[in-house]
């Protein structure tokens, strides 16, 4: 027999209790890992899409306010601006309301210049420029709806009183933007003619000809529209996403708080189990002490039990979360997980899994600390008196 064997034997004394405690730890760590993945996934999304030379220009009051179309030409004239494009949120629904996804009217002529890092196939870009109702679709949305190249799809307008029938002419790789759909601004303008036309734009995207030009462009855009009818905010793409995601970050904080509470609850459950384990073994601990076991080995043996439960629960929970989230991400990639939407883009990193295991070990250790300390400090004569 060894010390490890001794600890394991004690854990297996009540197999059901140990299994249930381990599973409760595993489930909570599963949740914690999923929660920890959220900020990491948002950061990854943000880092992946942000460019150092792209600048957004939108209404100072927020993204739901419009800018005059004339702003496009005015910013194009600023020195250092290599290209300008424009985003107008169409808010179209494909088939049924739950099939909402981001779709924008853009200028097909400058897509390649403003988003060269998206690595859109040149053939697709050429078709996009040429076909009046052509549309480029993010890879995951393309898979989500099972669309084919050349297929015509109709988007039902929710903001504009028009429905648009678009022809899918190409795919935006997932490494660029996996979910958006882009179509011709002019196509929307034509559709809006019966309703008085469209002279506004949602926001502008500029590309600086070099990173050093970015600060100057930002200053000039600010100066240009300081006293204009619609004042603007110009910011780098990184800053834009940071502010855009800030509302999500509040949600993430809330979810993280829930995660902390879950961990706290599990500590209490595990502590209760450890305390029960120590309480019912007081006679045995007294015998061990009478045989000459010092406080420390008894403390270590009792702590090892709860820590081992934490470790096994952590491996099960973090491993399970890693496996399931990876499987979901793969399913999203192959199209089988299209129903997951943006969730399919959330990949759990091995670091998060390791964090989960570490948290779990700490949970086990903390839960066992007080019961183990009490067990190790047991007065042997008092305990023996209770025995006989």
């Amino acid at each position: 027999m060894t010390w490890t064997g001794f600890v394991v034997r004690n854990l297996l004394r009540h197999p059901l209790r140990t299994a249930l405690t381990t599973l409760s730890v595993a489930l909570s760590i599963f949740l914690v890992c999923a929660v920890l993945t959220l900020p990491a996934a948002l950061n990854a999304l943000f880092e992946r899409t942000a460019s150092s030379t792209r600048i957004s220009v939108h209404h100072e009051a927020g993204l739901s306010y419009w800018l005059p179309l004339s702003y496009v030409q005015r910013v194009k004239a600023i020195p250092g601006v290599a290209a300008v494009n424009q985003f107008t949120w169409f808010g179209g629904i494909y088939d049924e309301p739950r099939n909402m996804f981001p779709n924008f009217a853009v200028d097909p002529e400058t897509v390649a210049e403003v988003w060269p890092d998206y690595r859109i196939d040149p053939g697709a870009l050429e078709r996009f420029r040429r076909i009046r109702n052509g549309a480029l679709v993010g890879e995951e949305t393309f898979r989500r709806f099972g669309w084919r190249l050349g297929q015509e799809v109709t988007l039902r307008g929710t903001i504009f009183p028009v429905n648009l029938t678009l022809q899918i002419v190409g795919v935006i790789p997932a490494s660029g933007n996996p979910v958006m759909l882009w179509f011709h601004r002019t196509y929307l303008e034509e559709a809006m003619e019966p309703y008085g036309g469209l002279r506004l734009v949602g926001m502008l995207w500029l590309r600086a000809d070099r990173p050093e030009a970015v600060d100057g462009i930002l200053r000039q855009v600010d100066a240009m529209f300081r006293n204009a009818e619609a004042q603007v905010t110009a910011e780098t793409e990184q800053a834009f996403f940071a502010s855009f995601l800030s509302s999500f970050r509040e949600l993430v904080r809330l979810v993280l708080a829930v995660g902390v509470l879950v961990v706290g609850a599990v500590v209490l459950i595990a502590a209760n189990t450890a305390a029960m384990g120590v309480r019912e073994r007081i006679p045995e601990i007294a015998i061990l002490k009478s045989l000459g076991f010092r406080r420390r080995p008894i403390l270590v043996a009792l702590l090892a039990e709860s820590t081992l439960i934490g470790l096994v629960g952590g491996i099960l929970g973090a491993g399970g979360a890693y496996g399931i989230l990876t499987a979901l991400a793969l399913a999203g990639k192959t199209g089988a997980g299209g129903f997951l939407g943006p969730l399919s883009g959330f990949r759990m990193s091995p670091q998060v899994a390791l964090q989960g295991v570490a948290i779990s070990v700490i949970v086990g250790f903390v839960a066992g600390a007080i019961p183990a300390r009490n067990g190790a400090r047991l007065n042997v004569v008092e305990a023996l008196r209770r025995l006989f």
Partner: protein, 234 residues
């Protein structure tokens, strides 16, 4: 040999031990002095509450006196701190309890091996010694059995094997026959007597069992915490 027989294994010098029970002070032992030479088999007898178990706990280094001194195998126990006392128990004392107190999750062999975990012995050596101890009590063939698969008498013999596996100077037994039928009780007393004679072990046993008197060298009687018969003439 004669010198060793006269050498005191245990010296109790004017020892008192009292407990607080609410506002009352209970004198479990009141100025008790005695000495027990090495290699003797001694019974501590007396009515309940006479202080037998308290004295046994002091001799085993499980408790400390409020006054006086306990010296066992030349070691003044009051001078040892808790850890040193635990180490001393591990190497000098073997304990046997009324209710056997084997660990239910371990088999007989592992229960006997348990005290050897403290000694830093290699696994093979631990196993060899545990087998020897189990053999000495005649239960080697039951080594894989867990306590709940053994009779009361067998469990007590395993507990005795656990007590002698470290080859201690002193064996203390607290009512070792208290939970056994007559046949098993006699067998356990005979085993203790045999261990005392064959291995020259000093044994101090608390008992109510009148049969024990036939097996021991000496009977020490206590009543209300006071030594009433040191049994020196026995």
């Amino acid at each position: 040999m004669l010198y060793r027989a006269l050498l005191p294994m245990i010296e109790v010098r004017d020892v008192s031990r009292w407990y607080r029970r609410g506002v009352d002070v209970v004198h479990a032992l009141d100025h008790v002095s005695l000495h027990i030479p090495a290699g003797r088999f001694v019974a501590l007898m007396g009515p309940s509450g006479s202080g037998k178990s308290t004295l046994l706990h002091l001799l085993a280094g499980l408790d400390r006196p409020d006054s006086g001194e306990v010296i066992v195998a030349g070691e003044p126990l009051s001078q040892l701190d808790d850890d040193a006392l635990a180490d001393w128990r591990a190497s000098h004392v073997g304990l046997v309890f009324q209710f056997f107190n084997l660990l239910p999750v371990l088999n007989a062999m592992e229960n006997v091996e348990l005290p050897l975990l403290l000694g830093g012995l290699p696994r093979g050596e631990r196993r060899r010694r545990a087998e020897a101890a189990l053999g000495a009590v005649g239960l080697l063939h039951r080594r894989q059995h867990r306590p709940n698969e053994l009779s009361g008498g067998e469990q007590q013999r395993v507990a005795i094997a656990r007590a002698i596996v470290t080859d201690p100077d002193l064996l203390v037994a607290d009512e070792p026959t208290g939970d056994l039928d007559a046949k098993s009780a006699t067998a356990v007393l005979a085993l203790l007597r045999e261990l005392n004679r064959a291995f020259d072990k000093t044994i101090v046993m608390v008992t109510h069992d009148p049969r024990a008197e036939a097996f021991v060298d000496r009977v020490i009687r206590l009543d209300k915490g006071v030594l009433v018969d040191s049994g020196e003439a026995a």
